[in-house]
């Protein structure tokens, strides 16, 4: 394996990790506020569809992005309505959202475009362009550093840089602002936050708004990358992001490394059908299942313990 191959694998790792990272951070905000978010997959799918549809009709991916975020936000608010306002089961609500997205995208897509649930292909301004960072051409002749800068660091779409930037921003918001402190507190001990005179309901809805926006970005990224929406195109990424969230123990920087790891696994799995180590061949199915297996191992507490926010999953009821 030469240096360029490694670079290409790493490059596709970044590409594949971008939607995972955005979705994972969405889950992070939601779960840190005590709202378990199984519906990430559904929001991703809804955003991918709406952004694909609007980007095709208007010819602008940025308008598509707005529509994708709006769709994801709508799903997020429905989740809030069920699990915050009506104090319903967050898990059940999330499962319902995933089904709604899987069904609605195809039914509406068929009605609008009559392409069996697909949207027409996006081209030109209907997709995000690649951002070439300054000097990427000029420096590409420099050995080792040049190709790294040109292939790996430069040449991604805007959303990739936004996603990576979102990591320190999330960290700063969660750990260095009053809002972040309250958000984390509401996921651990909502009654204490309530006693301090801060609205639990408002904080949890705000967390879901952030989650909705981030999922919207991730969904739009998928639609732009694949040049259009295809039925079930999220393909379990919402669940992988959830797995990455557990892997990351609900922390922003860990989320970056977890999603990069899962992206790398996917990139390797895409490039090599099966990997032979001596006489032993690792089947491609094992590579596909590896993120899930790793998550179970982490959950089982064999490699460090993942402790979720304490109030996660339970609706907050004021004592009478």
């Amino acid at each position: 394996m030469d240096y360029l191959t490694i670079l290409q694998i790493l490059d596709s790792t970044v590409r594949l990790a971008t939607p995972l990272l955005l979705t994972c951070l969405a889950g992070l905000f939601s779960e840190r506020a005590g709202i378990v978010d199984i519906g990430l997959e559904g929001k991703l799918l809804a955003a991918a569809f709406m952004s694909g549809a609007v980007a095709y009709v208007t010819g602008s991916i940025w308008l598509g992005l707005l529509a994708g975020v709006a769709a994801s936000l709508a799903f997020s608010m429905l989740h809030g309505l069920a699990s915050i306002t009506f104090k319903g089961d967050q898990l059940i609500s999330g499962v319902a959202l995933n089904f709604l997205a899987a069904g609605l995208t195809v039914v509406i897509g068929q009605s609008w475009f009559a392409l069996g649930g697909r949207t027409p292909s996006l081209s030109g301004n209907g997709r995000f362009g690649e951002w070439n960072l300054p000097f990427s051409d000029a420096w590409s002749k420099i050995p080792v550093f040049g190709p790294t800068y040109n292939e790996l660091i430069s040449g991604h779409t805007a959303l990739t840089y936004i996603a990576i930037l979102a990591v320190p921003v999330s960290w700063w918001v969660l750990y260095r602002t009053r809002f972040g402190l309250r958000l984390r507190a509401v996921g651990e001990n909502p009654s204490a936050v309530d006693t301090a005179g801060v609205s639990v309901v408002r904080l949890r809805y705000l967390a879901l708004v952030i989650a909705g926006v981030l999922c919207g970005l991730a969904g739009t990224y998928l639609a732009s990358l694949a040049a259009g929406f295809v039925k079930d195109m999220s393909a379990g990424r919402g669940y992988i992001a959830l797995a990455a969230l557990i892997f990351a123990k609900w922390r922003p920087w860990y989320a970056l490394s977890a999603t990069l790891l899962f992206g790398l696994l996917e990139a390797i799995g895409n490039r090599y059908q099966s990997i032979a180590i001596g006489d032993f061949v690792i089947p491609v199915q094992f590579m596909q299942a590896l993120p899930y297996i790793l998550t179970v191992v982490i959950l089982a507490g064999f490699i460090g313990k993942a402790i979720p926010p304490r109030a996660g999953g339970t609706p907050y009821v004021k004592e009478r």
């Binding site: 319902a96 069904g103 195809v106 039914v107 068929q110 649930g117 297996i293 179970v296």
Partner: protein
């Protein structure tokens, strides 16, 4: 004192929730420019208008009774098993291995053996998340979800590398021998002079599913184990105080749940396809969630809810054929049913409770 009479809780609330779900489904059909009334007529005609339609409806119903019961068993112990899909997949593998193992002389021998095979594989797949929940505190919702993906990769691997017929293009196992063929409704009803459609996949598994529903009722409400499962579900601390072992109940409830999912494979793998195909469950494990929620975790409710979803599945297929409405419409309805009967339960319940309280007050006054 309860705010509502029992009948309102068991019948009225689910009924209102379902009507709400159907109202929004109708709204959506109307929004995409189709006529909801015509759609309903097409669905009823397609699902119940011929013995062929009825045969398909009951075939789907059989699947959903098994998975609905499975989710409900776990739910009685307050365990949310969303790994039904993976457990059905593994059950399919178990059934297929049994059916392919020997040249079965008669279905009456093959069926019990296949049932054991499916149930054991399904239960084993549920055992790992159950053990991790009980012993290591890993959240069962996340682990069972992960196990769905692992199951899909695992069964895909076995199918591709060990069970696939060499040289064949399609990813499926060899067909089962004639001795493993289950009697279909056509064959079962012919001696009584009823001419049931030959092509419909409904088979003797339907009766097994009804038996399982009865067995579920006996287990949950008439046995010591059922009592333990229910009290563990109602309050873990109280159950512990009463000497009920939480580890044991968690593992047993989940293994029964997995076994019921695994049993579903006698219907879809042995009864219908008569070979193991890729992604055999087709989402039945997830529909079990909707069925259990709608059926209020009671066997009678579950059988009725399974019948409703069987109707939606078969009727939905007809809708695709005649009205060009995509099959995914059912997925939307499924999502709406789960949303309204599950997550938005309080939206319907709270006003009703107020209403009943007000009624009682006026009566007392």
């Amino acid at each position: 004192m309860q705010a509502m009479p029992k009948w309102a809780d068991a019948v009225l609330i689910p009924l209102i929730s379902i009507l709400l779900a159907f109202f929004f489904s109708g709204l959506m059909i109307w929004a995409i420019g189709k006529d909801p009334v015509v759609a309903i007529q097409t669905m009823i005609q397609g699902a119940f208008g011929s013995t062929n339609g009825i045969g398909y409806t009951l075939y789907y119903t059989t699947n959903f009774i098994f998975t609905g019961l499975a989710i409900a068993v776990a739910y009685h112990a307050r365990l949310f098993n969303i790994g039904g899909e993976g457990q059905v997949m593994l059950g399919g593998l178990g059934v297929a291995l049994v059916c392919l193992a020997i040249d079965w002389p008669h279905w009456a021998l093959a069926l019990p053996a296949a049932m054991i095979g499916g149930a054991v594989f399904g239960a084993a797949w549920a055992f790992i998340p159950a053990y991790l929940q009980a012993k290591r505190g890993s959240h069962i919702v996340i682990t069972t979800m992960m196990f769905n993906f692992i199951a899909s990769a695992f069964v895909g691997y076995i199918l591709l590398n060990y069970l696939k017929v060499p040289g064949s293009m399609s990813t499926e196992s060899a067909g089962f021998s004639a001795g493993a063929h289950l009697p279909t409704f056509h064959e079962m009803l012919a001696p009584f002079g009823i001419n049931f459609s030959k092509n419909a996949p409904a088979n003797i598994s339907f009766l097994i599913a009804l038996l399982a529903a009865f067995g579920f009722w006996v287990l949950i409400w008439k046995t010591r184990l059922g009592y333990e499962i229910r009290s563990f579900g109602a309050s873990e601390t109280a159950a512990k105080y009463a000497g009920i072992n939480p580890v044991r109940i968690t593992i047993i409830a989940m293994m029964i749940s997995g076994a019921l999912c695994g049993l579903m494979a006698i219907n879809n793998v042995m009864g219908e396809a008569e070979r193991l195909i890729d992604n055999a469950p087709e989402g039945a494990g997830f529909i079990g969630i909707a069925v259990a929620l709608m059926g209020r975790n009671h066997p009678i409710g579950i059988v009725l809810a399974a019948l409703l979803f069987g109707f939606l599945y078969q009727g939905g297929a007809e809708l695709t054929f005649w009205e060009a409405i995509p099959r995914e419409l059912i997925v939307v309805i499924q999502g709406l049913v789960i949303m309204f009967t599950g997550a938005l339960d309080n939206m319907v319940r709270a006003p009703l409770e107020k209403l009943f309280l007000a009624l009682r007050k006026t009566k007392e006054a």
